[in-house]
Amino acid sequence: MPSLLAAAHLDVAQNVAFGFLAASMAVAAIRVVTTKNIVHAALYLVVVLAGVAGIYLLLAAEFTAVVQIIVYIGAIVVLFLFGIMLTRAPLGRTANLDNNQRPLALAVALFLLGLLVYVLVDAFHSTHLDALHRPLRVGTTALVGNAIFQTYVVPFEAVSVLLLAALVGAVVIARRD
């Protein structure tokens, strides 16, 4: 039954979820870079980051999705809100958040988008993600743990030292003396 086999590739539920997530992320991302209110930009960023976590779930990367929520929404957005407060940004609408290169920036971004879309259509126009259909693939968290602590243990330790260095550096840069 070729029609049923073809229908199995349609993934209706996944595609509906993807469309909803992608549309809300696109709107929120554009609001992040265009809104006149700096606190609203941080809150729209939360929408984008949560949408990215949902996309990770669609790609069967549940551990990364949880890390995305904990690290980005839990820590980085809070850091942004602290930065907004400490620099005493005006909390209402402010007119001068953009510089005078907006047309040029828009041209660069649209050119880049067109180029990327052209290249992607050219390279992967009918590539399916068949790995998501593998049965009994319950979770990938154990695989991630094995990979981090076996294959990638040296980069993992290097990242921990980097985080320590960034912590000390941030304290040294920001403290009053």
Binding site: M25, A29, V67, V71, G83, Q101, L113, T127, L129, L162
Partner: protein, 99 residues
């Protein structure tokens, strides 16, 4: 699902972030746009990881998330220092190295 759905979404987020970095002059907003770019890269890494059926994509995305956290910490410290020295985080005013 098609691989390209995810790659297009990543491309859109990336270009939005590039626009934000180029067009914003508030230091905190520029850092937010950099986060958009990093998330676009992470979507691509995990999508290609699922496509190749390898776990390396997720591991690399986790490394990118950790480094993004370090980058935001240091970046916001620099923005705070600029604010303390100049009473503004308008990046167009930071032009000491302009000839």
């Amino acid at each position: 699902m098609l691989l390209n759905e995810f790659l297009f979404l990543g491309a859109l987020l990336f270009c939005t972030g590039v626009y934000g970095v180029l067009a914003r002059k508030n230091g905190v907003l520029v850092l937010m746009s950099v986060e958009l770019i990093l998330n676009a890269v992470n979507i691509n890494l995990i999508a290609f990881g699922a496509f190749r059926d390898t776990i390396a994509g997720q591991v690399f995305a986790l490394f990118v998330i950790a480094i993004a956290a370090a980058e935001v910490g240091v970046g916001l410290a620099i923005v705070l220092l600029i604010y303390r020295n100049r009473r503004s985080i308008d990046l167009t005013d930071v032009d000491l190295m302009k000839g």
